[in-house]
Amino acid sequence: MISTFLALIQFEYQRISRSTMRFVAICVFLFCGFYAITSGAHHVEIWKQSLVELESRDLEQRTEALGWFANGAVGPEDRDWINITQPRWADRYAAAHVAMVPEPLAALAIGLSDIRSSWAVVSATRGAQPFRTSDPSTLGNAEKLLAGNFDLVFVLAYLMPLLLLVLMFDVGSLERDLGMMRMVRTQTLSPRFWWLLRVSMPVFMVAALVLILCLIGGVRTGAIEATFDQWLSYCGISLGYTFLWGLLFAAVLSAGTGSSTAALWMVGLWIGFCVIVPAAVRQVVSSQMPTLYASETTSVLRAERYEILLGNIENYKGPFYAARPQLSPPVKTPARAIVSDMDRLVRQAAFMSEVEGVSQNLSESEVSREAAVARFGWINPAYVYQRALCVLSGTESVSYRQHRQVILDSVKERQEALIQAQWKMKPVDKETFESLFSHGPWMGYGQAPEKGTYSQLLVLAAAAFVATGAFSRIRKSRERKTGVV
């Protein structure tokens, strides 16, 4: 057995190194992987830079405002209308950002994350903007919106099976094409062991290449050091996906056809599982649940915001005070400016309710769509795999939903603080001003994929395994009856 194993390792080396097609395929795959890692790292670098700029802007503004408090001033000397002790100016100068920090693995599964919002301004007077993209230019780029980025997950999900196909399509079938299977069978101690080794060697080789890319990606992005467990999961899921394709192709080879027929079946499987099924599932789900894009949501909110800003303030006061029983409408008529500021907060609170409602709708719509797509997961391995890694890397919609919630919570917190300050009609002191900076944490949202992910991939793997056994049995029975090997 060991001699067979060693002989086949040497044979595989000779088979691949003497085939230009296979050698080029491996080089192209590795090149695509390197490019995807570099490209992902570039996107994450831009993402990180924007966060550094935000942080520095926040710090600068905060330092300036705190300087006024230290100097006993209420604003800059050249702009005497600014009064930091008034809640609306305090909100303006305390404006900070809540940001989604890229997970170290994000570079390896950047996906469509650069067209989504990774940060938002926390302000009670400038409106919550959880849906506004950080990079509006990409939203207008329809091609990018459709295709996403060329990230490592794309390379592994869609190109890896093609490499496996190139390395596997003539395993056993070449021997049939050349008419040498009989000689192989009589020379080999155990034809079954020979077949298992022949089929598994290209799979293990591709698995090794996948691991190399994951390792390079992990080192390049620092994921191995920073989040070793997540990186390990990334590798594990990728290896599982590689073995799944190995099983699918083994099922084809077990039918015992020639190499051209085997290649056509494998190409058919790839087109089916990587193109037709994902597209068809998307089409079916979209026809029943149209996609609600954030840009559409932003437009809706813009209209509603103007309606609230221009509408009769009395319409909003009722719900406002009802939601805050600790406050009651002022008995005495305060100064005109204070009334105006309170009204502004009432309108903002009304708008905030709209934003929360829309956010809720959007989240429910996304969850429903994802659940609908997930129902087809066991025949949609590329999607399931891609989604699993994006969830793990914090670049999937579930992460953005959590991020949006943090934005909303931060804005609400700010709003309530300002409402309290405004209601007390006391000047904002340094302590109150500093408290306005507290907002949701800057964090990444990578998490373990849903449990269903694994079971869906396992169902398909089990089906491929059963098919391999069945095809193999049928082939053997046919061969024993006809003698045609």
Binding site: S3, T4, L6, A7, Q10, F11, Q14, R15, R18, S19, L178, G179, M180, R182, M183, V184, R185, T186, Q187, T188, L189, S190, W194, E479, R480, K481, T482, G483, V485
Partner: protein, 235 residues
């Protein structure tokens, strides 16, 4: 020893072998003669385990091929009518690979010697077999089959398409393998080669053994006459 006992095999309604009983002793070469469709290849495929008999038993060196195919395979060398080899490997690499699959490990000089002994020119040993003629491939095939030093060797029309010189070399080689103690069964249409290398010759027709001859007691012409007469009488 190679044995078949009351072996029957049919393809649908066609009876390919009908109660065939054969024995090839160690050191003996048995020639299996017969027209196309007589059951020669079916017999060889049963011996090699590619087919399963409907009834009867097939035994290689005391091991039942149906009950223990892996064990029987380990004791069998097989040379098909057309030896196909991995085209991207040289003759030596092919031999090395197939020997390793059989669990055998040879040094490079041993491999070269085996190829030369099989009749391959020494300058062809390191050439890719994609450039080889049929005769050259056949010689590599012989080297592969004999390198196992199997107890039994079955050849399915091995001289088909070979020139007379190569054919003669093959006969000598087969004889040598038998002289070293192997039981050899050779299906062939070539009566002259059968006379040259076989200890016994059996004629198969319609899956039945119709005559057994000692070729050493006959001339090639006598053998041809008997064969043709047998064909006519059964037509």
């Amino acid at each position: 020893m190679i044995e078949t006992r009351e072996v029957r095999k049919s393809y649908g309604t066609t009876q390919a072998l009908d109660a065939l009983t054969l024995t090839v002793n160690p050191g003996e070469v048995l020639g299996l003669l017969g027209p196309n469709g007589a059951g020669k290849t079916t017999t060889i495929h049963l011996l090699a385990g590619f087919l399963q008999p409907d009834s009867g038993s097939v035994i290689i060196d005391g091991i039942d091929v149906v009950k223990n195919p892996d064990g029987a395979r380990g004791r069998l060398g097989y040379i098909p009518e057309n030896v196909a080899l991995y085209p991207f490997l040289s003759a030596m690499e092919n031999l090395q690979h197939f020997s390793a699959l059989a669990g055998l490990k040879f040094r490079r000089d041993e491999l070269a010697k085996k190829l030369v002994t099989s009749g391959l020119a020494s300058d062809a040993i390191h050439r890719p077999v994609s450039t080889f003629s049929k005769g050259m491939r056949q010689k590599v095939g012989i080297a592969i089959a004999t390198s196992k030093e199997a107890k039994a060797l079955v050849l399915d029309e091995p001289a088909s398409g070979l020139d007379p010189h190569a054919s003669h070399e093959l006969s000598m080689l087969v004889r040598k393998v038998a002289d070293e103690g192997a039981a050899v069964l050779m299906a062939t249409h070539d009566l002259f080669r059968a006379k040259e290398s076989c200890d016994r010759v059996v004629i198969l027709q319609d899956g039945k053994l119709v005559q057994e001859l000692d070729p050493r007691s006959l001339t090639a012409n006598d053998l041809e006459k008997i064969y043709l007469k047998q064909m006519e009488s059964n037509a």
